[in-house]
Amino acid sequence: MNYLLCTLFEIKWLPDIWAVILVSVIGFGVVISLLILTVLFLVLAERKLLGFFTQRKGPNRVGLWGVLQTTADAIKLLCKENIELLSSDKFIFTIAPIMAFASVILLWCLIPYNSEFHLINSSVGVLLYFAIASLPMIFHFLAGYSSNNKYSLIGSYRSLGLTCSYSIVLMLSVMSVILVSGTMDLDKIVLFQSKTWMIFSNVLGFLIFFIATLAKLNRCPFDLSEAESEIVCGYHTEYSGMRFAMFFLGEYAELFVMSMLVVILFFGGYLPPFGMYLANAFMGNCEFCSYLIYFEQTIWLFIKTLIIVFVIIWIRATLPRLTQVSTLNMFWKYIIPISIFNLIMIIMMRALW
């Protein structure tokens, strides 16, 4: 980012303010195109993987191995009728899916993709991330509330109840990470792990964070708020066409960005797993390599993230759904005490070192 900014500053006929705007627009465009490509790929990957887990083939008729399946879905959803309910609260009903998707896009801008490309670089990156990450839930609730449907309302209440249970656990486990690394900057957390990954010094914290992540993403076994066999579709029961697609894509984009955060906090982010870049190992220290390294960092981040996403889909194919009561029981009675214990242990270790 800084490199691009400097090259633009050197152009004489371009005013400085335009250079700054241009750089942020280019960065945002890159992030958006990454998001849409990954989400299109991710939906297909989930359908394929669920097929393989249940000994099926998955979509394989459209394009080679069904690669274009999600593209067909997107075209269909774009051109489907948008149903407006007479009894709904129209303003909130239209704005809720847009805002839910927009807040997920903001999350994508907070992630350091490599050591240079970091769109919103804040010294309290983790805090900012979780402040924005709580927004989609609020818009899910508003969507369920405004559509004036009993199933939507039950779904949105369930998602609120789930939020009450997981958010404390999530923050407690993130606090343990912040205590170990001693910083809230996502970039510095990644660089802190250049010798050993965080997961080796904070195993319990990782397990707790992963469970809370599943709850945050509304994934199995915590997909209470859109339980298809109990309440029709949860909060998006009344949504059709592109508005439904906004929720659908937003969910998958959030899944990917949360997995990226797991990688950044616990698996060394964009750093290579064996302490050395492949570009340097094969080509030595040339000038071309220093540019190649940035791409390699992004590829490492994505590979690690895809492994986490695979595990999450694997869990979805394996586990049944918990009830609301047992979820609350599990989080409040067992996981919160364990995470407080973990936090105290980390504090004691920090004090002894």
């Binding site: 097929g51 083939k57 075209i75 489907k80 009728e81 029709v232 949504y239 439904f244």
Partner: protein
């Protein structure tokens, strides 16, 4: 103008034909075959339509799997009306095609064919049809969608709106008569 229309049509129809999301709706034994069609030996996912939507707002296809009684018919009609355009109907099983084994005059409770109140695209008789037959129906529906045009679809919607209102009254009347009996 015609050229632009046909290119738009071909792209749209390609998308629509390859992602037919059915509604989870089954009233009797044909439903078992429909579930079997999405399970491992047959796998409806190959055609991109394993996404069984529980909400009619997000579905494209109403696979009417099973006997429809006079009491169920208004609910089915409501489900159909709740679906957004473009929407398609497959009448699965002999009962939905023309009453099947309930087609005698003595049978007072079963609607003799759902085409009396819904515009059916594909009829799939048999009692019950195997999953392979359901795939055949889905593939035939895909072929039908690929031949469609935006203009003809609009005419189709306009033509069927009036029919619905009339049929609605008939169904209500029938229900009242049943209560009398």
């Amino acid at each position: 103008m015609n050229y632009i229309l046909t290119t738009i049509d071909s792209v749209l129809n390609w998308g629509r034909a390859n992602s037919i999301w059915p509604l989870t709706f089954a009233t009797s034994c044909c439903g078992i075959e429909m579930m079997c069609a999405s399970a491992s030996n047959f796998d409806i996912a190959r055609f991109g339509s394993e996404v069984f939507r529980p909400s009619p707002r997000q579905a494209d296809l109403l696979i009417c799997a099973g006997t429809i009684t006079h009491k169920m018919a208004p609910l089915l009609l409501r489900l159909y009306q709740q679906m957004p355009e473009p929407k398609y109907v497959i009448a699965m099983g002999a009962c939905t095609c023309g009453g099947g084994m309930f087609s005698s005059k003595d049978c007072y409770s079963v609607v003799k064919g759902i085409d009396k109140f819904l515009p059916v695209d594909i009829f799939l008789p048999m009692c019950p049809p195997r999953p392979d037959a359901l795939f055949d129906a889905v593939l035939k529906l895909q072929k039908k969608i690929k031949k469609e045009s935006i203009l003809t679809r609009k005419e189709f919607i306009e033509g069927h709106k009036i029919v619905f209102e009339e049929r609605d009254e008939i169904l209500v009347l029938k229900e009242e008569r049943n209560e009398h009996i």
